[in-house]
Structure formats: C-alpha cells, structure tokens
C-alpha cells in the first residue's frame, strides 16, 4: 500500500471584499466562501481529478494547498507536516517538492527570458549545480518533455501553445517536484495538441512516480488522467470516488448531470440522446448567499421530483459526505 503524501482536512478559504467606501468604514466585510470545508487525501503516485463548473473553487483549492493562498482554516498535511503552520523559510524548502502547472500559458512564462534562462533559473533556486551539471540537467529535462534542443534560445512568444505547456512542465520537473497541482493543463490547447500533453503527463507519472492533483473542467480528460475524481459544487465536494464509478455510476444528481451533458453533446445523432434528468432550474447562483441546506437544491431535479422536501433546504441538515461502498463518498440526502 503506497503512503499518503498529502492530506487536506476541512480546508476553508473565504475571500473578503468590501462594497464601496462606506461599507469599509462600517467594517462590513462580505465574505465569499470559495472553498468551504473540503477534505481529501492523495496517495503517492496517484492522480486525483478535481472537476466542477467555473467558479466552484477548483483553482483556489490548488493554490491553497501549495500555500500560494493562506487558508482561512483547516489543515494541509504534506508528508507528515502541516504546511499551514510553516514559516516562509520552511516553506521554501518544501517548494522544491510541490509545484503547480499554471493554467495561463502566457502569464506563467516570463516573456523577456529565453527558455534556457527560465529553466536555469528554476534549477538554480533549489539546487546548487555547476554550469556543466545544469546543462546536463536541462538536456535531460528536454528529453523528458519531448522538446527540441533548438527551442532553448527562443522566447516564449515564439513557441506554440503545446511547446509552452511543455516548458511549463519541464520547469516544474526541474526543481524535482514529486507532487504537482496541474491547473487546467489542457485547456486553451487544440485537441490534437491536448492529446500530446495528456500522453506526456501520464508517461511522466509512470516514469518518475509523480503525484498529481489534476484540475480541469474537461470531464473526458479528467476521467482519462485520474484514478480518483472529486466533484465540486460551490466550494464543497459533493461526490468522490474512483473515476470510472464517478463517470458511469454517479450517485449525486449534479455528477449525473455533468456527465450526461457530456454524452448528450457527444452523441452524433440527435435521436440517440441520453435520457435527461435536467428538469431543474438553471439560473445564476449567488456565491455570497449560498442556498441554505444543500447548495445544489435550487438546481436539483431530484429535489423537484421529490416535491421539494424540507430536509434539503434546512440549514441544520446540510448533507455531509457519507461513504456508500468501496470508498465512494457522496453528499446527498437522496443519492441516485
């Protein structure tokens, strides 16, 4: 049994903002619960996928785990140490082992540095190597991510999207990271290039024994990449389990809708449309005032079909993640 590399316990990240100068004077801060009590763990050499609609807090989780954001409360235990309590100096030591692949390709690479300098700098931060050793390491990295050596003298803007993504991966590997948060690594890439990147990440995982937290809204890619999948809705995990279970035998109505919207879109003939349970209302959700009780209730078809039971909307009976079978957990009063 492989050991647990990262454990997240009841993690919360609330952002605050003020509206207008008068509310600032009155010290009335509005709080947005971007991540609101999330717990999960990652085993070594495993990929956990994090899916959900935009704005549900996926990226915030990734950033908070790496302490790029300070959590409001909760624990993040990496390799036996609670990193929410570490000082900046202690964190720096850990950064060599945990890294993030950022979503925005262009913002992540310094436009004024050549690829060689970008990689050299990253290596230099965490390892003291001679020039010759650095050179050797860079060659090794390029080989690992399938990038041509001639690209080293290029600037980021001269590279295509797929190549930029490879540089991002090479930089993360260069510091020797074992745990990687991959934030939408395939969005903004064309399908043909997307497949290259997915293959690359999976190869690297096999060869180097990496652990991934894979954040994406692309359900197919998540299912393909991940061993386990966690589905998020408005700052909470609503369902978690093995990826094939989540995709093919979901228990939470939201998960069901997510995946059926995919197959429905995918089906080539109109006649072959999946039976849809999408009867719920699909309005705008208000993040500042999430619905009392189950957050998904206002959009939930099961809630409608059960005649709007009070248990779903009582604040006291907000559904908690309950284990069903074989580690599959779901937060719903009426699992499918």
């Amino acid at each position: 049994m492989s050991k647990t590399i990262l454990e997240v316990v009841d993690l919360k990240k609330h952002f605050t903002h003020q509206r207008g100068i008068f509310s600032a004077l009155q010290e009335k801060m509005r709080s947005i619960p971007a991540v609101d009590g999330v717990s999960f763990y990652l085993k070594e050499n495993e990929t956990v996928g994090l899916v959900g609609e935009s704005g549900c807090g996926k990226t915030t989780i990734g950033r908070t785990i790496l302490r790029l954001e300070r959590p409001t409360s909760g624990k993040v235990i990496f390799d036996g140490r609670d990193i929410t309590l570490l000082s900046t100096d202690e964190l720096r030591g850990l950064r060599g082992r945990m890294q993030m692949i950022f979503q925005d390709l262009d913002a992540a690479l310094n436009p004024k540095m050549r690829i060689r300098d970008i990689l050299t700098e990253a290596i230099g931060v965490h390892h003291r190597l001679t020039d010759a050793e650095t050179e050797k390491r860079i060659a090794e990295l390029l080989d690992q991510v399938n990038l041509k050596k001639s690209k080293l003298t290029n600037f980021p803007h001269e590279l295509s999207g797929g190549e930029k993504r490879r540089v991002g991966v090479a930089r993360v590997l260069s510091v020797g990271a074992q745990f990687i948060v991959a934030d939408e690594p395939t969005s903004a890439l064309d399908v043909s290039i997307q497949a290259q990147v997915v293959n690359l990440l999976r190869d690297l995982q096999k060869r180097l024994g990496l652990t991934f937290l894979f954040i994406s809204h692309d359900l197919r890619v998540v299912e393909l990449m991940s061993h386990k999948v966690a589905v998020m809705y408005l700052g909470k995990i609503v369902e978690m389990g093995m990826s094939d279970k989540i995709a093919r035998a979901p228990h939470h109505p939201y998960t069901h809708i997510l995946w059926s919207s995919l197959t429905e879109k995918q089906s080539r003939e109109v006649a072959k449309r999946a039976v849809s349970v999408q009867a719920g209302r699909w309005g705008v959700f208000d993040f500042e005032r999430p619905a009392a009780g189950c957050r998904f209730a206002p959009r939930c078809p099961v809630y409608e079909s059960k005649g709007r039971p009070a248990v779903c909307t009582e604040p006291a009976t907000e559904p908690q993640l309950v284990e069903l079978d074989g580690g599959h957990r779901v937060a719903c009063h009426f699992p499918l």
Binding site: S160, I193, L224, A247, L262, K265, S267
Partner: protein
C-alpha cells in the same frame, strides 16, 4: 442533388499583411463552401485554421488596415441577391519588388464605403451572427433588452419602440430566459455567461434573418450550460428552419447540429460532406487530418481502458510559410511511397470522391 445554395463562397482568400514579417498571413487560402437553404453547415478545425476569418469575411468585418480579400461570396435569398465582395479588389494595390510583396496600399475609406454598400440590408437583416464571447459582444452600458429592441427597430418593420420592446421580450422568452420581462432591464454584467449567450441568440434571431452564422457559440461556457445552449440551438433550428453556418472546434457540437460538415486545416477546406459520413469512426475515405482529429478525441472506449491517446505529432500549420505541397504533409501518417513525391511538391485540390463528399488528398486520386 444539393438544394439551391443560400450562400456560395468561391475561392475565398483573406490575407493579412504583416509589416514586421514582410509577408502575408494567409488566414483563409482558397475556401469554397456552399450553404443550402434550411440546412446547417458545420465548420470544424483547430485554432488558426481560418474558420472565424471565413465567417468575418462573409459578414464584411475584415475591414481593418492590413486585411485583403479576394474571391466571390454570392448571397441569394428571396429578398436579395448580391455579390458581397463586389468592388473590394479595386481598393487595394500591392507594391511588389522582385516578385515579393513589399507593402499593401489600401484605401481604407473607400474599402469601408464599399463594404457598407455591399452589406447594407444584409448585415443583421439577412445574415446575422452570434459571436464567440457573449459577454464582450454585448454593450456593457446598455440593458440587454434595449440592445435587442434597437436591433429590431433598425432591421425590421417594427418601428414603434413599444412594439419592438414586446417583440424583444417575446424573443427573450423564446430562448428560454426566465422571467424575460425582468431580465429585459438587466445589464450584461448582471447575467451569467449562458444567459448572455441566450440574449445574443435572441438578438441575432429577432430580425428573422435568412442565414445565421454562429461562431463558437458554446466556447467558454461550462459543460452543463453548453449542452443547454446546444439543445436550444437544435430546438430553434427545427422550429424556425433557419439556415445556419456553425463554426466550432468541438466536434461533438458540430455532429449534433450539422447536416453537412467542412473540415478546415491551415486556411483551406480539406474535406466536406454529409455530417454522418465525415464524422463517422472509420478512417475509410477520409482525409488523414480528419481521421487523426477524430482519433485524438478521448473516446468513451479509450477513457474506459485508460489507453494511450492518439496525438497528431507536430504542430498546427504556420500560415505565413505555407509549404508548396499538401499542407498536412509534415504531420501526415498515411503518406505512402507511391504518392510521397506528389504530397511534398504539389498541393492536391478538393475533389469529389463520392456523391457529396469531397476530399483534398492524393491518397484518393488515381
């Protein structure tokens, strides 16, 4: 036999002159397409393949300085019949030195005037367009309702504001926006991405155009919202029987909504035909690019078995230095020794290989 085309594009070329590179970026390079009345033409291709520029050329939106268009775009409905590119070539002169274009001299004012002349009564009234980014395409300072009302008053016979307003509310209702009367007074920032896209669709359809161009109507929306928008488009299509040109990089959406499909690569159409043939799983009779593109999408089987994805090696075509031979030659895995010479040197043309199916590949020409 194809029904009478509503829109016929012949050998469309849209180039942008890059002063720093001293060369043309050949975004659209010889596209011929036809959209028959009442049917939906889907255009698929990766980013940079020229899909959106084709649509913008049709709408007369390529007006900015360095853009140059040639070819023919014929539009013919029961109200209007017109050549949309008429007279544009006279507004541009190329300065050549030793066979190489050194600069483009374009009379921008005359160009703009000519475009206006060609497009009056067409844009909005006959052809309307849904843009990729709904939030950016709506005016942030105006309420959604007023923007639709304005379009209706401008393009249809409803000239009285109250009447146009009622019409606008009716359309908001038709695109399934909850409580349309309330939403009428919302600004775009008060609506979600999906609602903005619905409002855009309402605006585009409110003038009852003959042709609707939908440029990536679902890109940037969440999966659940995407399927709602696709459902809406499918419903409107069967209800109104409107002719549509649907542009997307998402093959799933194209497959759901289109009757015929054109696959674009590097500024040209490499394959076109009935949707079910072009998007079927077997690589038989397909352009190698289409086959590879379909294979690189994670299919349900591949996902289940956690298999290796079939990536297309290499990178998307550089539209400045277009090779002399087939555009896909560098990435093609189906080149045989017999045709290698031809693939490298000579560009294949788009030929009909079966009824309604046209492919641009030496593999199928004997």
């Amino acid at each position: 036999m194809m029904a009478e085309p509503l829109l016929a594009i012949e050998d469309l070329r849209t180039y942008f002159y890059s002063r720093s590179k001293r060369a043309f970026i050949r975004s659209v390079d010889g596209v011929s397409l036809a959209v028959a009345k009442g049917e939906t033409l889907g255009i698929v291709g990766e980013s940079g393949s020229g899909k959106s520029i084709t649509a913008m050329s049709v709408m007369g939106l390529v007006s900015a300085g360095p853009g140059v268009i040639s070819g023919r775009i014929g539009f013919r409905s029961d109200r209007v019949e017109r050549q949309l590119l008429e007279g544009l070539d006279t507004c541009v002169a190329l300065r050549r030195e030793g066979g190489r274009v050194m600069a483009v001299e374009k009379d921008d004012d005359r160009w703009a005037g000519q475009v206006e002349k060609n497009m009056t009564g067409i844009r909005g009234r006959e052809i309307s367009m849904i843009f990729q980014n709904p939030k950016q395409s709506l005016n942030p300072f105006e309420t959604v309702g007023r923007q639709i009302t304005e379009a209706i008053m401008l393009h249809t016979s409803h000239k009285i504001e109250q009447e146009a307003k009622e019409k606008a509310i009716e359309w908001l209702d038709r695109v399934k926006i909850d409580s349309p009367r309330l939403r009428f007074d919302n600004h775009p920032f008060g609506l979600s991405g999906g609602m903005c896209q619905r409002a855009m669709i309402a605006m585009a359809l409110s003038c009852e155009p003959h042709l609707l161009i939908a440029d990536e109507p679902t890109t940037g929306l969440d999966a659940t919202i995407q399927s709602k928008i696709v459902d809406l488009l499918a419903e409107l299509k069967s209800e109104l029987g409107i002719t549509t040109m649907l542009i997307s990089h998402d093959i799933g959406i194209i497959g759901r909504l289109s009757d015929t499909v054109a696959v674009m690569y590097g500024g040209t159409v490499v394959e076109s035909g009935p949707a079910k043939d072009v998007l079927s799983c077997s690589p038989e009779g397909k352009h190698p690019y289409t086959a590879a593109l379909l294979a690189s999408i994670p299919s349900s089987d591949a996902v289940r078995e956690k298999g290796h994805l079939q990536a297309i090696e290499g990178d998307v075509l550089d539209t400045i230095n277009i090779p002399a031979g087939c555009r896909f030659y560098g990435r093609c895995s189906r080149v045989t020794d017999k045709i290698r010479e031809k693939c490298d040197k000579q560009e294949p043309d788009l030929r009909e290989i079966a009824s309604g199916r046209r492919v641009r590949c030496w593999l199928y020409f004997e």
